[in-house]
């Protein structure tokens, strides 16, 4: 009799031990669900997931909040590009002078125009302007890359800018 009771108790204990972790994880799973489902609706799931998960504010954020985090990521990518552009300009590569200068204007436009427009649009509630700003940022990065006719020293940064921007635009589309 005692053996059966022990086995039964042990059995229930086993079940409890295996199911408890899932109960504890429920809350995080729901937040992850929104991030995952949102990212699945973008052209680059990996870029989306990496960008959002790197920011702790993303858990518990709604779609508008996720979009605003992506706009912050756009800022960081734009700054990466501008920093490298300035470095290259200082190191004085003369064959790329015009292209670098053109890229500097484009990234300036992203930082001073597109990104503030996107941030304000999301904050104030007219999201289509955030989609426009993100799409323009993606285009500016592409135009910059094209300036070098295949010999770009900024490919990594331009790709990053482009990819993060199209992901942002796709997330914003959910708000329209």
């Amino acid at each position: 009799m005692t053996n059966l009771k022990t086995i039964t108790i042990f059995f229930f204990f086993l079940i409890a031990m295996t199911s408890l972790p899932s109960i504890i994880h429920c809350r995080t799973l729901n937040d992850d669900k929104l991030i995952e489902s949102t990212c699945r609706r973008t052209p680059n799931y990996n870029v989306c997931i990496q960008s959002l998960k790197a920011n702790p504010a993303s858990s518990g954020a709604d779609v508008n909040g996720l979009a605003q985090i992506m706009v912050k990521v756009m800022t960081s990518k734009a700054n990466d590009a501008i920093n490298l552009i300035h470095q290259l300009q200082r190191s004085g590569s003369s064959s790329q002078k015009t292209a670098l200068s053109s890229c500097a204007s484009k990234y300036n436009a992203i930082l001073i125009g597109d990104i503030p427009q996107a941030a304000e649009a999301l904050q104030k509630g007219d999201p289509k302007f955030a989609e426009d700003g993100s799409n323009d940022a993606a285009n500016e990065a592409t135009f910059c890359e094209n300036e070098f006719n295949g010999k770009s020293p900024l490919t990594k940064q331009n790709n990053a800018m482009h990819d993060v921007s199209v992901v942002t635009a796709a997330i914003v589309r959910n708000l329209l």
Partner: protein, 521 residues
Amino acid sequence: MAASDPNGPVYYKEWYHFFYQYNPNDAVWGDIVWGHTVSRDMIHWLHLPLAMVPDQWYDINGVWTGSATILSDGQLIMLYTGATNESVQVQNLAYPADPTDPLLVNWIKYDKNPVLVPPPGILPRDFRDPTTAMLTSEGKWRISIGSKINKTGIALIYDTEDFKNFELKKGVLRGVKGTGMWECVDFYPVSTMDDVGLDTSAYGDGVKHVVKVSLDDDRNDYYAIGDYDEKATKFLPDDVKNDVGIGLRYDYGNFYASKTFFDPSKKRRILWGWITEYDSECVDRTKGWASLQGIPRTVTFDRKTRSNLIQWPVEEVNSLRMSSSEFKNLKAKPGSVVPLHVGTATQVDIVAEFEIDKLALEKAVPETTDYVCRSGGGASRRGALGPFGLIVLADSGLSEFTPLYFYVTKGISGKLHTTFCSDQSRSSLATDVNKKVLGSVVPVFNGEKLSLRVLVDHSIVESFAQGGRTCVTSRVYPTRAIYGDAKLFLFNNATDTTVTASIQVWQMNSAFIRPYQPETD
């Protein structure tokens, strides 16, 4: 600086007033205030001080779009959307500080704003752009505000007696699945019996109504014509297949957030529309400005087709015409480009008529699919009966050019099908501009010649096909076909027909636009 939506257009004490969404600080959308400009004649415009700025909690995040209503006693009120300190969209009442000032320079906001907040079931950011009010048979003022429920765009209806207290009418004026948020709703009557415009409150025999929306989802303006039942507060489109948001557009190019108003002095309904940039933001910052307003158009019901509106540049534009050149019965053989010697062609008004060979029409083989501008391949893809038309903003070597063309096909039934397109694909050597081919079908009756009017102004091309049945606005940015190097051509790239064209071209003066000087004006 950047502008966008037209706001509160109105005719008051013999002045045309035009307000607009404006960012005084940057060439992008943001920091939105109401700009204000006035004219007695639609040609001489005075820039006035900003009419309204975000200075109350209920509009601190933006003084957004709104409309003017003139009450029965001549009093003018303005209803507009404010984005509150918590970014909730509410409707606010404002009125002129001095109603005896015909220039309406200063405005007062009602001290108990907002007068309307999002009703239950409507999200706080889906409630904006109140319309001009119309007087109901009960003597109440009725407005519409666009919104959405999930992905169904809707127009809500409110009645009011004082513009301070509103009653939400049950149901919606109209709702269409899948269209998304309805911005800048416009709701107005048109006469089915003649070409006069109607006061916004007109109702009864010989009157149909138009519901127009700006779709947030695709940045285009759509309209539907139908019947409005005042008692039931319902609008039923004449053609449900072309319901609001899924059918006809005012313009098949660049044209958004448009709004009409009734001009009692000339008994016409005038349409203003926002024309955004088709280039990159970087360039906009360099030039320091972004966005235009299209040439104002009159709007009437097409009494021939009875299924669409007709838009036409206001007649005042004709007063900017200067010297003209006329070409009668020019024959353009298949595959030809004919230069039209008019001097510089950057600021011109063109009126043209085209005819195809009757024999070619009879011999034409029916096609199974209809021609579509977007995917038709532009002006270089030849067909039996098209493309043919004009080439604007072209340099003499045709390294940059913008064709505006008709493309005619015969359907299986033998009926002719005509499309009008504005081809931006070769408009510029620049790589960061829009290169789409825009346009749509245009209704043409037997016996009608194909007609086209075009207003060209440096980087904007406004085309009106078949008397304004189909309109296409393009923004193009040539780098060579500019100023003295911009030329004009007639072209015919059809394979099986000669095209006979009669064309008149006027050099256009610039409108007179300057800041208001209180001491001297």
